[in-house]
């Protein structure tokens, strides 16, 4: 009996990272904002019954049931929706809940995430396969993005010749600005635009002290819209003492963007990266 379970769980764990068609995707639950975004992009939203709270794009996701926070899912709560398929990314958890869901026979898939343009395209392909989108309509959907992808790669090649020095801020309320270091989605996003992350000497999202920000002296500062918090506009943000003395603030090179569009690595990230690389390529 135990061996039987071992074999089952061995095969199901093999299947976890596989992007093959699910037997029944009629009642799909998605835990991950970028995956929801891609599902809508593929026009497969009729299969969705619930999403997590990071899935806030497009607006219509508000009408779906919410399964809460992606890292703190509840087995019973999920099963009460009687899903046939649950799709998430590496951050879906806690692991115990994922194991329990697997045992109950729900098809649980984890779509691999790579934070590059190619990674996003692969993610789209993987999700299309799981949701049973035919090869031809996959190609058709991807071709919609090709124009942006090609433009972006040209701009990146141009930007890389003299990369702009960029700092990406997640949030700046109450503490020193919380900045994207190595290995963060913010770092990957900056690289996607062919620019250089000034905060390369530490890992993760960390509060960085004002003196260090001045010595970084970034050409551009990018901040998430929510991270602006109650700062009225870019001008008042540029006057904050921690940013005021940087070239970026002096030259009014502070840019904002929706956090999920930038850092979610869904469809919108390509457009965001294109927008920023266009700005960075000037002068």
């Amino acid at each position: 009996m135990r061996l039987y379970f071992l074999v089952i769980s061995f095969f199901s764990s093999l299947a976890l990272s596989d992007c093959f068609e699910s037997i029944d995707s009629s009642r799909t639950v998605i835990a991950g904002g970028s995956l929801t975004e891609i599902t809508y992009f593929l026009e497969k939203e009729d299969k969705l019954i619930a999403v997590d709270i990071t899935s806030n794009y497009p607006e219509e996701t508000k009408n779906l049931a919410s399964i809460g926070y992606v890292r703190a899912l509840s087995t019973e709560g999920l099963l009460s929706l009687s899903p046939t398929l649950i799709i998430g990314e590496d951050d879906m958890g806690p692991p115990l809940v994922i194991d329990q869901l697997g045992v109950t026979g729900v098809d649980v898939r984890i779509v691999p995430e790579e934070q590059t343009v190619e990674g996003i395209l692969r993610k789209i392909r993987c999700l299309s396969s799981i949701l049973g989108v035919s090869k031809s309509s996959q190609d058709q959907k991807i071709s919609l993005l090709n124009k942006d992808v090609n433009k972006l790669s040209l701009l990146v090649a141009k930007n890389l010749k003299s990369p702009k020095r960029v700092m990406l801020i997640l949030n700046m309320q109450g503490t020193s600005p919380i900045v994207a270091g190595q290995g963060t989605s913010g770092d990957s996003f900056i690289k996607m635009t062919g620019s250089e992350n000034v905060a390369s000497s530490f890992e993760g999202w960390k509060p960085v002290n004002s003196e260090a920000i001045i010595s970084y002296d970034p050409d551009y500062i990018v901040i998430t819209e929510r991270g602006m918090g109650s700062f009225a506009n870019i001008e008042s943000l540029a006057n904050d003492p921690s940013l005021k003395f940087t070239s970026a603030a002096k030259n009014k090179n502070i840019l904002t963007e929706d956090g999920m569009a930038m850092l979610g690595f869904g469809v919108r990230t390509i457009a965001s990266a294109l927008k920023f690389s266009e700005i960075f390529s000037k002068k």
């Binding site: 109450g174 002290n209 260090a212 010595s215 918090g229």
Partner: protein, 345 residues
Amino acid sequence: MRVKPLVKNLLRFTNSSQIYLLGVLLIAFLLAFLASISLGSFNFSVFELFNSSKTSLHTTVLYEIRIPRVILAAFVGASLGLSGASLQGLFRNPLADPGLIGVSAGAALGASIIIVLGSSLFPGFIFGAFILPMAAICGAALVISLLYVFTRGFGYQGITYMLLVGIAVNAFASVGIGILTYISTDSELRGLTFWTMGSFGGASWYLILPAIVVISLSMFWMIPSSRKLDLLQLGEPEAYRLGVDVKKLKYKVIISSAITVGVSVSLSGMIGFVGLVVPHLVRLLGGVNHSYLLPGSALLGAGLMMSADLLSRILVQPAELPVGLITSAIGAPFFLWLIFRIRKI
């Protein structure tokens, strides 16, 4: 005006070894100040800068970034140490700390509301950098008024009642913060977590000047009541018979600590340990009379806080450690050492 009774009080009820100790604390404070303004992730020699009068990026960093931050740390440390000491005296309870009456929790709740809901509640609010401290002060003020109402002007049923009300207020505020934590997004959660561990990163002159004025005023208001706090140690009825207006004293200590703590928390987040342990350190070093304890706690609190902030800036630069981690990390072993040293004797 108030300085004269302050000095008189200090001399009259303080013995010579305590004055000597206060001198040592003052020197330590000055050393911490000097070290704090001369070290940082932006490397330059402060003394060269004072000599040459040219304006450069270095001067900007020193005057606009580093000095306001160091001064804020000093004032916050002093106000936490002082209010910890006077609250322990008032409650006659060694475990009392500024968090106990619920004021920091109220301030934290106010700040958390802004961190999590701020962008939707006040989109494009004109006083960007001010709104978080203002919300924290409103939270603190709300808690003070609640305490005032529940304890019928701080007088009802003695001091235990007030402690219990404080505990209830604390619990209520943590529920609020918990709910906000639950509904926050990843980036807000990060902001919230780092804020609750304390930071002086947001210091700038226009933010700290009002705070400095308010904190110094309430400190000068509180320190002269040190003798009354001494008498209160005999018990409330006894102090009353010795001529202490106990109700007025409660009113004074609670209002002034609530104000200083509220302002401190609103600018620097939650910084533990200093308010609770600094008064004990000062007592273990030199004695329990409040004419020595109150200024001593303020000095040591300020010195400790500046050193902790210095470490938070330079240990993992260019990133910074939350200062609350460091106050506990350097304070706790020192405290343990002192306790064991006392036991041996």
